[in-house]
Symmetry: C2
Subunit: 141 residues, 2 copies
């Protein structure tokens, strides 16, 4: 095991860059967000504003929670609620220059975190899979 | 970094044991499965048969894919389809005695894997979070 090369990896070198990341916009109705999620196959994706600043995360869980009525899932309500009303804003983010340990800690409780620059612009996402792949490379004896 | 203690960890010591794992049964209708998923908050859970043998995994993605019609999500169809008809059966599993490296490799492409005994009985699940927490403990300098 050679620890130093692993620990010097940065978020920027491990992230999926923004053009490859499925996302939704702040003012999209949940109906549009759920279609994006089902078609992309992802359980949750970043929410950006019209300037591509990172604003939060929206997922199938919170969307379905919001339409679960007493008797049935009231899917018609999806066009009446916007992403900004229900998205999760308490989401940690990292910078491209952050090193491996910071990145590892950030994904312990989150399947992915967003990589943002100092002005809050969205650079990409750092996934648990990327972290686990690097560990697998370096931990081999 | 002390590699040996980390590499000697077994799936059994890191798993969430079966009584704490939300799951559904093979013959449940998708309507029941989706309710379990939304109420537990999990995006996917194991599918067991009536003898508690591990059979597959069911998640919100595949359920929603199955009811997405041309015009809308046809939620009424959820009571007509059973879990066994749509679940994902190509899911790796590990044994309680498997060591850390085997466990790490198994979660690179899967948020969780099931821990089963030699007869296929369900012992628990091994999550990416459990693996990442151990790495975080041992990788500290
Ligand atoms: N189309 C696909 N092809 C191959 N494998 C797939 C896949 N979709 C999902 N997976 C596998 O399932 C894991 C969980 O995906 P999930 O959508 O729940 O959770 C994902 C999703 O919420 C988000 N994510 C990943 N890639 C994304 C992208 N290109 N755009 C938007 N969000 C993404 O990051 C989370 C963690 O991703 P991670 O890669 O660690 O882990 C992924 C990956 O191992
Ligand atoms: N109620 C809760 N409290 C705190 N944190 C929560 C949570 N629900 C989800 N999370 C966080 O979100 C991650 C992804 O959850 P997800 O449901 O997509 O994906 C989960 C879910 O499909 C399954 N899973 C985890 N615990 C489970 C359980 N007790 N029963 C059934 N399935 C479980 O394993 C996957 C990976 O779990 P992991 O712990 O690595 O990663 C979890 C965890 O970090």
């Amino acid at each position: 095991i050679k620890p130093l090369p692993l620990l010097n990896l940065t978020a920027g070198s491990m992230m999926i860059s923004s053009e490859k990341v499925a996302h939704v916009q702040l003012n999209n109705p949940l109906e549009h967000a759920l279609l994006i999620l089902v078609k992309s196959g992802y359980s949750a994706v970043p929410v950006l504003d019209m300037h591509y600043k990172f604003k939060g995360i929206i997922g199938k869980t919170v969307i379905l929670n919001n339409v679960l009525g007493i008797e049935r899932f009231e899917m018609e309500r999806l066009s009446d609620i916007t992403v900004s009303e229900v998205m999760n804003v308490e989401v940690p983010s990292v910078k491209q220059s952050d090193h491996f340990l910071t990145c590892l800690k950030s994904v312990i409780d989150h399947p992915f975190v967003c990589v943002v620059d100092q002005d809050g612009y969205f650079d990409g996402i750092l996934t648990r899979r990327a972290i686990l792949k690097e560990m697998n490379k370096y931990i081999h004896i």
